[in-house]
Amino acid sequence: MIELLKLYFIQTGFGWVIIGAVFVVTVSCIGSAKGILISSSQAAGILSEKPELFGKMLVLMALPGTQGFYGFICAIMIALRTGIIGGKLTIPTTVGVSILLIAICAGVVEYLTAVIQGKAATSAINLTGKQPEEGGRAILIPALVETYAVIALLISILLITWLTREGGLSYTPQTIPLPGF
């Protein structure tokens, strides 16, 4: 067990990277679920009185769900660039820890923006409920929050790419095959 931990966390950064990938996808998905809970509950209340607004409400309800996908993209990116999918331990510890930090920051931003977007969506839902003709403009309110979730995703992708490219921090001449793969 200790040998395995040494291999994953000290000799290579494989363990850190795995934790990072799992963290970013878990936290983002929880945030999205919470955001959707907030917006869809509010929308359900309005739909109980005005069911004809379902089409307009659907987009607003679904908007906080995007952060879950961003977390998923981030996790896939980590897996692709660090060799998890290839099954090779090519990541040094420093890069592994750096990727974990990036994943934590991205995860936290995605979580918070999802919840905040859910709350912003309720305002837009209220506006659409009162003035259905303003539904198109109302989408802009939660969409503005989306910007910051996208920025977090982009910067994490760029940083992961820079960290794992050949000649970057991750460059390592020797590869150690994963035990059991």
Partner: protein, 346 residues
């Protein structure tokens, strides 16, 4: 009763309330209603609103009280069922329970049937159980008041009983509001309830002073629990008029003194009427002031305050509709009705 529900648990009911808010009637509508030339006109005006499902025929206008009761209590019970915390709706309904309880007690003293029953949290049949054994769903402070009154009954003169029943149960209800106010997490509701409480306490005190009722029982049964140097006591103890200093002390005591500007506002509104006799103008001014306090709640996207704000708006609408329809049917002069109208929520 602790209102510790998370804000997003209120989302569903807030969404529903958001749509229902649009149906609340504005001041312009009441003006239109007041300008109705005849019953047919009044009916036509009502038929353009959400009330049309209650008033389907002109003859229904003569049953307006029953129909408006249906409208108001249906909404109240519906929101009570859907809300994650029933505390706020109970505030409106327990007031009726207290009135019912007082009616039952007063009726039993004078060996007659209670004249009316208002819909509350307790069924008509179960109200007797409150008196006999107490009901768990009833707030503790009100069950205690029943027990207290039972204990005191044997020492009281029969002639004083109705007066003392009022004092004990009004006092218990105001204490119940204090508990709700203390437990509440939403600032706007806390402020509303604190000011509501103080306005009602002042009203009861001033009524006792105006009617020159016996101060002994009043002090014993209404002011129990207040400090010896309490401002309310001072007001009762002599012919002291309500001064700004006294009002300030009361406000500090009830934790609703939030800013000098707000204090000045309350003083201006209350003391304008309090130096004279309590009149209907006092009720109008305080109701309007309370409505001004709670109105910003409609801009909150979701939460307990949004629902509470709507319920306050609905209660005002219920009052205004009864006033205007009842007044017009009985041929009361428009101006008399107009000056008694309360400010609306929307």
């Amino acid at each position: 009763m602790k209102h510790d529900k998370l804000n997003y648990e209120w989302c569903y009911i807030s969404g529903r309330v958001n749509v229902l808010e649009c149906q609340l009637l504005s001041m312009n509508f009441y003006e239109r209603l007041l300008s109705s030339q005849n019953i047919g006109n009044l009916f036509a005006n009502l038929n353009n609103t959400h009330l049309k499902k209650y008033f389907t025929h002109v003859k229904h206008l003569y049953e307006f009280e029953m129909l408006l009761d249906d409208y108001y209590y249906d909404r109240l019970y519906e929101i009570r069922t859907l809300a994650p915390d029933t505390g706020f709706c109970d505030l409106f309904l327990i007031k009726n329970d207290v009135i019912n309880l007082k009616n039952i007690l007063k009726a039993s003293i004078s060996d007659r049937e209670p004249d009316r029953y208002l819909r509350g949290t307790i069924d008509k049949d179960k109200l007797n159980a409150v008196w006999q054994v107490g009901v768990k769903s009833f707030p503790e402070v009100l069950n205690e008041a029943v027990l207290y009154f039972k204990g005191e009954m044997k020492y009281l003169k029969k002639a004083w009983m109705p007066f003392i029943i009022d004092l004990i149960f009004d006092s218990a209800y105001l204490k119940y509001i204090e508990f709700v106010c203390r437990d509440n997490s939403a600032d706007i509701i806390r402020r509303y309830l604190a000011i509501y409480r103080i306005t009602r306490v002042i009203k009861i005190i001033m009524r006792v002073l105006t009617l020159k009722l016996a101060k002994g029982p009043f002090e014993k049964y209404f002011l129990t629990g207040l400090n010896a140097n309490n401002a309310f006591r001072e007001l009762v103890s002599g012919s002291t008029q309500l001064s700004e200093k006294m009002l300030c002390e009361m406000l500090v005591e009830t934790h609703c003194y939030t800013s000098p500007a707000e204090y000045e506002n309350i003083v201006k509104i209350l003391s304008a009427e309090l130096s004279k006799k309590i009149s209907y103008r006092y009720d109008i001014m305080t109701d309007n002031y309370l409505m001004d306090i709670i109105r910003p709640a409609k801009y909150t996207p979701f939460g307990a305050e949004k629902v509470f704000g709507y319920l306050c708006g609905l209660t005002t609408e219920f009052f205004n509709l009864k006033l205007v329809i009842g007044g017009l049917i009985r041929g009361v002069e428009n101006n008399l009705l107009r000056e008694r109208l309360r400010k609306t929520y929307v």
